[in-house]
């Protein structure tokens, strides 16, 4: 069942079309990576879904509630984390969370435990009594995520959650997102840093100049774009023999490249029958050290799509 759905969603500022005819569908439990270059319309789309901007035309629903007609109902379901946000001065971490918990009408008797829980989840328990403005950027991001989780939202709209963070903080945020995925949340996460999305998302949507170029499961898109899986093979000897075997004997292999001693072959045969490649190599006495299907490369997809390979 689609929990987030947009139909011909459009936002126009005068003559400028920020988002054009966007049709997006996110199923319950999906983690959708919303990818696009700066100024592509990612933030505008997320702000429309978050009821902060009104679409010029088209509709968007979250769990069946229209974002324009039922903004209050939508706000109860979503948790939104903006790309840039500030914090209040002279406020402690627990006070900040207490303020938002009371704004979300969490009963007073449950607030304290809830605050402790989200602080523990975001690894901020030791900062409970610190002033918010004194936290590092990474901690502020985690605090904002903690605030976003206070009312236990079904859908999380995260706009560039790891932007501007150092590598450690970025890994921490990534781990946190995996934790949320395991909790069964539906997440829409926008980013233009592709490797950070690769192992979190099961679906992607690529947007450029306000237009949705492609959306769907990462593997399916990869197959749609290249019609192949990339196999990564390491051999003990020189790779030449293995390359010859792959190029000459197998109709299932389309393209073979050797990069830093590693063979990358595009497999176009029937899915689930990669083993035949290993058999062929073994037949020719090639000493195979490792054989694996290369994880889907989001950068590759992104470059192909935004270059106009798919329209």
């Amino acid at each position: 069942m689609a929990i987030v759905e947009t139909h011909h969603l459009t936002k126009q500022y005068g003559q400028l079309v920020a988002v054009n005819n966007l049709n997006l569908r996110i199923e319950e439990g999906d983690i959708l990576g919303f990818i696009g270059p700066n100024g592509a319309g990612k933030t505008t789309t997320i702000r429309m879904l978050a009821t902060l901007l009104e679409p010029t035309s088209g509709t968007a629903t979250i769990a069946g509630h229209d974002v324009v007609k039922e903004p209050e109902a939508v706000r109860r379901i979503i948790g939104y984390m903006p790309d840039f946000f500030g914090v209040y001065d002279d406020v402690k971490v627990w006070e900040y969370l207490d303020f938002f918990a009371s704004a979300y009408r969490v009963p007073r008797s449950e607030r304290q435990q809830l605050i402790e829980d989200v602080l523990a989840l975001t690894d901020l328990s030791h900062k409970r009594d610190d002033y918010v403005e004194a936290l590092s950027r990474g901690m502020k991001q985690r605090l904002c995520l903690a605030k976003t989780l206070l009312h236990n939202p079904q859908v999380l709209l995260l706009d560039e959650p790891a932007a501007g963070l150092d590598p450690r903080a970025r890994i921490e945020i990534k781990e946190l997102l995996k934790e949320l995925r395991n909790m069964g949340k539906t997440i829409l996460i926008s980013s233009h840093i592709l490797p950070e999305l690769a192992d979190i998302c099961n679906k992607i949507a690529i947007i450029e100049r306000g237009e949705l170029l492609i959306s769907g499961e990462i593997g399916a898109i990869m197959r749609q774009l290249t019609g192949s899986h990339v196999l990564e093979i390491r051999v003990a000897d020189e790779p030449d023999t293995a390359v010859q075997v792959l190029q000459s004997q197998l109709g299932d292999i389309r393209e073979v490249r050797v990069e830093d001693g590693v063979i990358r072959a595009h497999y176009v045969g029937p899915p689930g029958e990669h083993y035949r490649v290993v058999w062929a190599l073994a037949e020719k006495r090639v000493k195979v050290l490792s054989f694996a299907e290369q994880p889907t490369n989001l950068e590759d997809i992104f470059m192909r799509v935004t270059q106009g390979a798919v329209q």
Binding site: A50, T51, L52, L53, E54, E72, R75, R76, I78, Y80, P82, F84, F85, G86, V87, Y88, D89, D90, V91, E95, F99, F100, S102, A103, Y104, R105, P107, R108, C144, K147
Partner: protein
């Protein structure tokens, strides 16, 4: 139940305010000024031996103290709210707040209550000084309470005005500038009106000026009831405007502000009827009394309602479409104003016969307001910026007011009242036939404005279409 009444924004804003050192600095400075004023006044009055008794001295010192408190509250209060919302926008905390289930009004209300709590703290902080004066004797407790009620009512109005500016403006600097700008210019207008009255009286004018002469027909409780009612309604209206500006489209909440404007107008009419009936026994006789009251209210309201984002609709018949008539659109204003004028006509029937306005004067007021609206419609389409259109409209009205004033001077008519309020020049005319001449003039001027707006708009759209096809 009590938990439902809890306002997190009030708690958060108050906590932030009372935690900063700036607040205590401000309170100390405020008390120092109050103390200095009392000490210096005491020294001056005692050395000049103006008062033979301590009770007389205590009364004057109390008046000085309360006036200073009033002045300080009036200066500090707008500063408490003028940046309340702009700061949230500038610090990028606002989106997170808007996403909570709190209503827009609850957010504004929380900010307002927090500012008012500080005003109360300021007033209460001054009580030890007042207690000293009470100890000298001669100060009436009720009179003292009345003055503090006035200080609080001023605080309520100023705090809500600052908050409205803060919701409308995009930056804190602009909001502070406009809040204090309006504050100063208001005093300037009142000053000008005062000077005009003095000059008019000096030259033997003002014979028709009986509004202030009418006031004594009210008892103290009536003055208080009207004053408190009008202040609270105006405050509510301002807070609602602020709340509307937190919505993605301010027009979504316009029906509430229309309702509150109607309630304020009804209160003004009730007061006018009460004053008029009370004065019937006296010699007071203002020609077209109720028409003047209505136009004085509406000539300031219509420009605000008539400028904004007009709904696209080229032919006049399209204004009758339900989409155009939805509240909040520029096109729906004539209907709303017609309703208010109808209320005025009904209220007029409650007045004694000599005070009732002539039908021609009502027609004249309606035609004048139609023209004001039509000009607003013109500027809204041409300028496409709400505030630009509003300033252009008020500028045009003021220009016409000047022309009328000069014409009236040339024909030796009284103009002082008209100049003070930029109202429709109802009071200029003696004979119903004078009104009859101007009704078609304003109707035609208004029609011309609407016609030219639609013509120019059609041309613009055609140009845009040609540009896009190329």
């Amino acid at each position: 139940m009590l938990e439902r009444l809890e306002n997190p924004v009030f708690r958060q804003s108050s906590r932030q305010r009372m935690r900063g050192g700036k607040t205590y600095g401000c309170l100390i400075a405020y008390l120092l000024v109050l103390g200095l004023v009392v000490v210096i006044s005491y020294e001056q009055f005692v050395s000049a031996r103006v008062f033979p008794t301590t009770t007389g001295l205590a009364q004057v010192l109390f008046d000085t103290l309360v006036t200073t408190q009033w002045f300080l509250v009036a200066i500090i209060t707008p500063a408490l709210t003028a940046t309340a919302i702009t700061m949230e926008r500038e610090q990028r905390t606002f989106d997170l707040l808007l996403l909570t289930p709190l209503s827009r009004f609850a957010i504004v209300w929380g900010k307002f209550l927090s500012a008012m709590a500080f005003v109360v703290v300021m007033v209460v902080c001054g009580t030890p000084l007042v207690a000293l004066l009470f100890w000298m004797g001669g100060i009436d407790l009720w009179a003292a309470l009345e003055r503090y009620a006035l200080i609080l009512l001023s605080g309520v109005l100023l705090a809500s005005f600052g908050l409205t500016m803060s919701a409308i403006c995009s930056t804190s600097t602009l909001s502070i500038l406009l809040t204090y700008g309006a504050f100063v210019s208001n005093y300037f207008v009142i000053l000008l009106a005062g000077v005009a009255m003095v000059v008019a009286r000096a030259f033997g004018g003002g014979a028709g000026l009986s509004l202030t002469a009418l006031l004594p027909s009210w008892s103290a409780w009536q003055v208080w009831a009207f004053g408190i009612g009008a202040t609270l309604l105006a405050t509510w209206l301002q807070l609602q405007i602020a709340a509307n500006y937190l919505l993605p489209d301010p027009r979504q909440g316009a029906w509430k502000t229309r309702l509150l404007t109607g309630a304020l107008f009804l209160l003004a009419l009730t007061a006018a009827v009460s004053l008029g009936r009370g004065a019937a026994a006296s010699t007071a006789n203002i020609r077209q009394y109720m028409v003047i009251v209505c136009t004085m209210f509406l000539v300031w309201t219509v420009p605000m309602l008539a400028t904004g984002v007009p709904l696209q609709g080229r032919r006049w018949i399209e204004w009758l479409h339900p989409r155009s008539l939805q509240v909040g659109s520029v096109q729906s204003v004539p209907l709303f104003v017609a309703l208010l004028l109808l209320m005025g006509i009904v209220a007029d029937q409650f007045l004694p016969a000599p005070l009732r306005s002539s039908p021609l004067a009502w027609a004249y007021a309606a035609a004048y307001l139609w023209w004001v609206w039509a000009l607003g419609y013109f500027y809204s389409f041409r300028i496409r910026n709400r505030w630009g259109a509003l300033f252009a409209l008020i500028g045009t009205l003021y220009f016409f007011a000047q022309v009328f004033a000069n014409l009236a001077n040339a024909f030796d008519r009284r103009v002082w009242f008209y100049l003070a309020g930029v109202t429709a020049p109802v009071e200029l005319f003696d004979q119903p036939s004078d009104f009859a001449v101007w009704v078609p003039v304003y109707l035609i001027l208004g029609l011309l404005s609407v016609w030219s707006t639609n013509l120019l708009e059609r041309r613009r759209e055609r140009r845009l279409q040609q540009g896009s096809t190329r």
